[in-house]
């Protein structure tokens, strides 16, 4: 099968049930996508498939055949996506481990909903756990990154 990751095509002939997460981390060395739970309960492994945020830990390889996958490494050339800039501005990360998943979830939210309400933000972002407790800064950063800020 063929899979395109951050614009680069790859062929894959391994276990069709292997989750995308482990393909990205173990085989492509794209370790920006994190393992936090393995059961779609924490959002650390969030990537975009065809522009939609999904949890790669429960996404089997066979379901991403011929799909476009985007990871944190492909979100921008050098950390200059609006979400990354807003994250830097608000000093969001603490340990940083959850932040790839946070930013990928936020970026997908803003692509679909350029001016999200607080309820939209809470709804989308509650899929991603941060044990360091950066939630209030994430809310502020998303507002800042949304269409022209507010």
């Amino acid at each position: 099968m063929l899979i395109t990751v951050n614009g680069t095509p790859h062929t894959y002939d391994g276990d069709p049930l292997q989750p995308l997460l482990w393909y990205l981390r173990d085989e492509l060395g794209l370790t920006g996508t994190k393992f936090g739970c393995g059961i779609s309960a924490c959002g650390a492994c969030t990537v975009h498939v065809g522009g939609t945020a999904i949890h790669s830990c429960v996404t089997p390889m066979k379901s991403v055949a011929d799909k476009q996958v985007r990871t944190i490494e492909g979100l921008s050339a050098d950390g200059d996506h609006a979400v990354q800039k807003a994250w830097a501005e608000a000093n969001v990360p603490q340990c940083g481990y959850c932040q790839s998943g946070q930013m990928m979830t936020a970026a997908a939210l803003l692509e679909k909903t350029p001016k999200p309400t607080e309820a939209d933000i809470d709804h989308a972002m509650s899929a991603v756990i941060c044990r360091c407790g950066t939630y209030t800064r994430i809310r502020a950063a998303i507002v800042a990154a949304s269409a022209g800020g507010r």
Partner: protein, 753 residues
């Protein structure tokens, strides 16, 4: 090895080889390290001590001997050194220290990385290097030293305006003696300390390029996933590995011996599946058929255990502090108030589950891992492999959260044992299930409090009994109640001026491993104490804020030497002289937080404000929670205010973020989290059953107020947590009249709104 930090290390070695000015600072201050060549001749420069170096290329390399887990220590230590050195911030390079006692204490716990003399030590290191560079410039220009001064990476001659960059002065400076007592900057001259600086790891984190323990790699490494014993103390009885070995990619199944109880930092044992990929190892583990031996903890049950703790705390225990005559004062009082509080086990559950990669060879063992304490990792690995600890090299990656879990190196020892068996590098990956079920849970506590109020509503007597298993029970046999060190976390150091006061520690034996958790026993202790104070205020018909201020009494220093403690009370490892209990500092954070939160304002029905104040890790924190409880018992938090006096602040922005994080973790503890045992096994397995706070439940507004009191720095990472749970419980009482005495709040409010 191909991790970025290793590449940086090689760069650094090259720079050293080119000749640089190297200063080593030990825990006791600068240790007369002289010129670089002698330093090289003396041995391995990388393992000499905590140090900074200035290269002939002008680059300043700071070695961080503490672990970064989001608290910002890597940046903060650089700020301190750069400031005293008068360095150009853009020339700062960061090295992460390997585990070695030459660096002094590397255990990143106890909120200690700035407070325990490290701040002064690193300032001295920076200042000494600056003075040597200044002297070199003075000699170069043949002018008096008083006429030259370092400024932003150069040394300037005041009268002529001549200047030389640091790099050009290194050759001359490194042959000068290291000043023993260099002149420190005046605080008004600080350029980085006390200012906000962008974290040095920020860009790597934002672009997904930061390396955590789960990301560490060694060429040719195998991946291991381990099936741990479900009950503490059990070991493998039988293994059927046939199906596991059928899984494509699985290479071997290895049985690991169980460390006898108490197992300390050593592994639990179990069955490891070693494979070429993480997924194959996980599939292999699922296919294992394992039976376990019986354990004395097979019947451990959290419900029954709670009853046992309750019985224990209702009877007299070991008296550890006694002032006046509590029994007489209680029996003769106008009003007696009794309340009991329960706080359950918790899991640290850092977002990054533990992981370690190790390579055991004839030379020894090299490790890359997310650890809070690379020295204990080194020691435990050396013990397990029966090799000298000098042969164990432990590199530290970034930590994806830790909260106490990663101060225990059992997973690192597992990697080393498996690498020895496989004769190849092995990476041990803990899954979330391992983390929740096979970790070192935070203690559980049942507390019984009684107090006497006189006719004017003043507290005349206070009895506090706690039954809570000790962390020490994980390390030594025969431990039957909390240690004096754990009792000093909030109970023994109660600051209130109460004439008759007694503290007792009651029997509570451990049936699982028990470990440190962000702010440790302060969590249950502050929950009980600050809830009980609120209950007393209401019983006395007083405003809780006024009541707390009255309990503190007029501003004074609490004389802990004469406070009735049976033994000297620990003060977070520091002296009472340097860090006394100052009730004025309590008062100020209470006043600050209540003013900011609009204490006393009229709120709609179903809403309330709750206040709590607690000192821990030498820092004073007060929290006001504004809670709104719906008719169905749902809690919304419109706002939380937290005021912190941690003495001198190095990096205000990171202090604020730590305080914010502490509020979220405190609310998680209070609202949703509970780890419990059934048939000796942890009943929860992952974030679907071990619940932590998500954004939807986070406060709508969160305000941090830094009460800059100056003075020696206190801790920052932990002290924000303890007052959060009682502030929430007190707010819920104000909103609904329902008193929360058992955590987590969970569904207790259904129908209370």
């Amino acid at each position: 090895m191909s991790t970025p930090s290793n590449l940086e290390r090689r760069d650094f070695l090259r720079r050293l080889a080119a000749g640089g000015l190297v200063l080593a600072v030990g825990p006791a201050g600068i240790r007369g390290l002289k010129a670089l060549p002698a330093f090289f001749a003396a041995g391995d420069p990388l393992q000499a001590s905590v140090y900074l170096s200035v290269g002939e290329d002008g680059l300043v390399t700071v070695t961080c001997h503490r672990s970064e887990m989001g608290q910002g220590v890597r940046t903060a230590l650089c700020m301190v050194i750069a400031d005293e050195l008068e360095a150009d911030w853009t020339t700062i390079r960061l090295e992460q220290a390997i585990g070695d006692p030459k660096y002094g204490n590397q255990n990143t716990d106890g909120s200690s990385s700035i407070r325990t003399g490290q701040y002064a030590m690193l300032r001295t290191a920076g200042a000494a290097a600056r003075e040597m560079l200044e002297r070199a410039a003075a000699a170069e220009w043949s002018v008096p030293e008083t006429q030259v001064s370092a400024r932003n990476g150069t040394v300037v001659h005041a009268t002529t305006g001549r200047s030389l960059p640091f790099g050009r002065l290194v050759a001359r400076a490194r042959s000068l003696p290291v000043p023993a007592a260099p002149r420190l900057k005046d605080a008004s001259q600080f350029r980085f300390i006390g200012k906000d600086v962008t974290g040095l790891d920020m860009h790597a984190i934002l672009t997904g390029r930061a390396t955590f323990g789960q990301d560490a790699k060694m060429a040719g490494m195998k991946i291991a996933v381990i099936l741990h014993p479900p009950v503490y103390g059990a070991s493998v009885a039988t293994v059927d590995s046939a199906a596991a070995l059928q899984v494509t990619g699985v290479e071997r199944v290895i049985t690991l011996a169980t460390t006898p109880i108490p197992s300390g930092f050593q592994p639990l044992g179990g069955v490891a599946v070693i494979a070429g990929s993480t997924w194959a190892a996980m599939q292999g583990r699922r296919a294992l058929k394992v039976t376990w031996t019986a354990s004395p903890n097979d019947t451990h049950d959290s419900e029954a255990y709670r009853t046992a703790l309750e019985t224990s705390a209702r009877a007299p225990g070991r008296v550890v502090r006694k002032q006046g005559d509590v029994a007489a004062a209680l029996s003769g009082s106008a009003q007696k108030v009794t309340a009991e509080y329960y706080a359950p086990h918790l899991a640290q559950a850092p977002m990054e589950p533990p992981a370690a990669v190790a390579n055991v060879s004839a030379d020894g063992c090299e490790i890359w891992t997310c650890t809070q304490d690379p020295q204990s990792a080194r020691n435990e690995v050396a013990t397990a492999l029966k090799i000298p600890k000098e042969k164990v090299i432990c590199h530290v990656t970034l930590l994806g959260g830790a909260f106490g879990r990663k101060s225990k190196p059992d997973y690192i020892v597992e990697a080393a044992l498996l690498s020895r068996e496989m004769k190849a590098p092995v990476k041990v990956v803990w899954t979330r299930e391992d983390d929740i079920q096979n970790g070192f849970p935070h203690t559980v506590a049942f507390q019984h409090l009684e107090a006497a109020l006189d006719a004017k509503g003043r507290v005349g007597a206070w009895l506090h009994r706690v039954a809570s298993p000790s962390i020490n029970s994980t390390f030594a046999p025969g431990v039957t109640d909390l240690s004096d060190g754990e009792l000093a976390l909030g109970i023994l150091d109660l600051p209130y001026a109460i004439p008759n006061l007694q503290v007792e520690s009651c029997r509570a034996e451990g049936h699982s491993r028990i470990g440190w958790y962000r702010s440790v026993s302060n969590i249950p202790h502050a929950f009980a104490i600050s809830s009980f104070v609120d209950e007393l205020a209401h019983a006395a018909g007083r405003d809780p804020r006024d009541f707390i201020l009255e309990l503190l009494g007029p501003d004074h220093i609490v004389d802990m030497a004469n406070a009735g403690a049976v033994k000297p009370v620990d003060n977070y490892g520091d002296t009472w002289a340097a860090h006394p209990i100052d009730t004025a500092r309590y008062r100020k954070v209470v006043e600050l937080v209540t003013k900011a939160a609009g204490w006393g304002k009229k709120l709609p029905k179903g809403e309330g404000l709750g206040l709590a104040v607690h000192r821990s890790f030498l820092t004073y924190v007060a929290v006001v929670v504004h809670a709104r409880v719906s008719a169905t018992g749902e809690i919304v938090l419109p706002r939380v205010d937290i005021a912190m006096d941690c003495g001198f602040v190095v990096h205000p922005e990171r202090v604020r973020s730590q305080a914010e994080g502490a509020v979220i973790m405190g609310l998680s503890n209070a609202m949703t989290s509970e780890l419990s045992f059934k048939n000796g096994r942890v009943a929860q397995s992952n974030f679907n059953t071990y619940k932590v706070l998500r954004m939807s439940a986070a406060p709508r507004e969160l305000h941090v107020h830094l009460a800059a009191s100056g003075g020696p720095p206190g801790g920052v990472g932990e002290p924000g947590v303890p007052p959060v749970a009682p502030a929430l419980a007190n707010a819920i009482f104000a909103a609904t009249g329902k008193r929360i005495r058992s955590l987590p709040v969970g569904s207790q409010l259904a129908g209370a709104g």
